[in-house]
Amino acid sequence: MTEMENIAIADQVDDSSHPNSFLTKYVWSQDHKVIAIQYSITAIAVGLIALVLSGIMRLQLGFPNEFSFIDPSSYLQFVTMHGMIMVIYLLTALLLGGFGNYLIPLMIGARDMVFPYLNMLSYWTYLLSVLVLVSSFFVSGGPTGAGWTLYPPQAILSGTPGADAGILLMLISLAIFIVAFTMGGLNYVSTILQARAKGMTLMRMPLTIWGIFVATILGLLAFPALLVSAIMMIFDKVVGTSFFMPAILSLGETLDHSGGSPILFQHLFWFFGHPEVYIVALPAFGMVSDVIAVHARKNIFGYRMMVWAIVAIGGLSFVVWAHHMYVSGMNPYFGFFFATTTLIIAIPTALKVYNWLLTLWRGNIHLTVPMLFAIGFIFTFTHGGLTGLMLGNVVIDLPLSDTFFVVAHFHMVMGVSPVMVLFAAIYHWFPLLTGRFLNNSLGKFHFWGTFLGTYAIYLPMHYLGFLGVPRRYFAMGETDFIPESAQTLNAGITVSAIIVGLVQLVFIANLIWSTFKGKKSGRNPWQATSLEWQTAQFPPGHGNWGEHVPQVHRWAYDYSVPEVKDDFIPQNISPEEVEYLISDENNSREDK
């Protein structure tokens, strides 16, 4: 009985539900594809704010005292807003709200998310959280300058910029974001578990879906820690409780707080914060796997291993959080435990890197723009991962903690790398959205500018970190242990950062121009096997599949199968429909 009912909803082609007016079609839309685009545009828009903020910070670091509109307080505010926007409001929202929404139903052969209305609410709630966040730029005292980690007690004490309205708006915005994420995330997980097309077993799903699936579960279990700590900090700030506030002597005055535990906040924050890294990384892992397989015309190497690696990384990511707290004075045995788990995560992660390389190995590599970005990702990710191995060890982390080495590390691993995949994904799936290619020459220019540019930015930062240049500092001041030459390096980094920023404008221009004027792509231009390219209409219309949802007969990686006529077999092609080079009855193959 339950079974029948679900199918009835899933396969319904109910014409009366087709939205007609502009408003229902593009604004109050419940279509996952429209919601995905709304999410993406909003995320990219705030992402541009964060990019501009990083440019301003770099100007200060490269050319101190040249710019009067940056003072120590505003520098801290820019650091904080830059970090938080990039991690939460850009990457999380774009990867899950944007790509998750767009690709899940299309890749698993569903007509939409299981609860489209909730999905729509998710977007509007997300938009609200963004508006609350941005509004903090305009309140008195400005946005919070506590650093994206928002550590109390300083986050809510006077002396920290934005300690009045700014921090409150930040916490409220985060809480709203979590509500939005939960509404979306429940949908993604339920859709993937319950609404797959016939034949689409879990082990036939494209890795993109696996990445998004596990990342969403991580989000649903990790965001509660952030929510609870936000609530407690709001209480500390507004009501005067002391969850996180110890007895404090500030400017000679004893504050009203006593008995709270600042370390508790650090634990809660990083219990969220570390899985958050993988909430961003896992969808990227999945998407890059698919891009590599399509553009190398080869099946992904070790599909099952790749799936289990994603699951293992997801599970392990909950037991490593305190590697961010080595300097908090923890018990050495704790440090030992967390260093060990951290290094263990490197195993499934390295396995993925090997598998990407082995997929490329002797593949028929097409150096398209998406492929360039995907290969770029392998470089930046390996690079960031190796420095992560270093920082995972307590003895190496202690001296390097809070230096630019850490800044370089996390930008390589969770800043640049997911962004490279996002670019790969946008160039790859743009034809599906619009029926047009993004301009190729501009794309190549964008790739080389971004790839070389980010190396020019972050490689020298590692060196600065070794010299001891501290992170979150407005200016270095009287620090004799840092040589003069560090300033020259900083100036160079800033120039590169400005160039990289400008190169992104080329990308935005390309997006806008190609949406209307780009070269027509035709159906399935990359000759991909996964379902999203096999829709009835192209680009896919409302309900995705026309009369019938597809039936799936194989995994998503049948590329260059020997003796088959085409070099790819879409997932919805049945074994009987496959055309062979030599038509021989005995030759028909078992499907995967």
């Binding site: 509660p224 209480f235 009203d256």
Partner: protein
């Protein structure tokens, strides 16, 4: 045990061997044999479990780290009735009511699956009423703590300040869940009596029940950690 009938049904439709578990996960369409809404409620409750666990862990952490002594629960949570000082009496009644409401909820689910709409609606409303009386008593308890004992989130004449902070925050958060549950129950009961689920089936009652049982279960933990520790 919300509903035996439903369980039997699903038990019958698949053999109970590991093979069938593997098949469910490994092949085709649905990983779990249940409606979308029910699965979504389960996942939501899993996420909510994390929220409450983190609240309670934080409470334990704070309670262990404070230097001022924690107030004695059998003094704070006592009522003086007819000249007698009775510890934990109110909370015992509240807990009893909430657990009873889980019982009426389970019966509502049972009747819903039997197709007895009227009884199901009636029992859901009873559940909501019990929930509302729980909220009422909680309001009474809060008032007593605030007005008579002078306990505030930021101060506490009977011991550590964090007692008031954690107590009001966590029971308040739970109370919000109960209130939401009362509204949810009333809403669904109304929709059922309007016949909105006549064609769809009454799984919605079970889904509502899942939420309600969860809220009760959480209360058991809050009760244990605040009143018995």
């Amino acid at each position: 045990m919300p509903n035996n009938q439903q369980q039997e049904q699903s038990q019958a439709s698949k053999s109970s061997s590991w093979q069938s578990v593997k098949n469910d996960w490994g092949t085709d369409k649905q990983a779990f044999d249940m409606p979308w809404g029910k699965l979504m409620m389960w996942i939501f409750l899993l996420s909510d479990t994390f929220i409450f666990s983190i609240f309670l862990i934080s409470y334990m952490n704070v309670r262990m780290s404070v230097t001022v002594p924690w107030p004695n629960p059998s003094e704070v949570f006592a009522l003086t009735i007819a000249g007698h000082h009775i510890p934990l009496v109110l909370i015992a009644i509240m807990t009893f009511i909430l657990i009873t409401s889980s019982g009426t909820m389970a019966m509502a689910v049972n009747y819903a699956y039997q197709g007895n709409k009227k009884k199901a609606v009636y029992l859901m409303l009873t559940t909501a009423l019990l929930g509302a009386s729980f909220i009422g008593m909680q309001a009474f308890e809060w008032t007593k703590l605030i007005v008579e004992e002078g306990i505030r989130p930021w101060e506490n004449p009977m011991g550590a300040n964090q007692f008031g902070a954690a107590f009001f925050m966590i029971t308040g958060f739970h109370g919000l869940h109960v209130s939401a549950g009362v509204i949810y129950l009333a809403m669904i009961a109304k929709r059922i009596s309007q016949g909105k689920y006549d064609n769809k089936g009454y799984q919605i009652v079970e889904i509502t029940g899942l939420y309600w049982h969860f809220v009760d279960l959480v209360w058991v933990f809050i009760f244990a950690f605040f009143y018995l520790w």
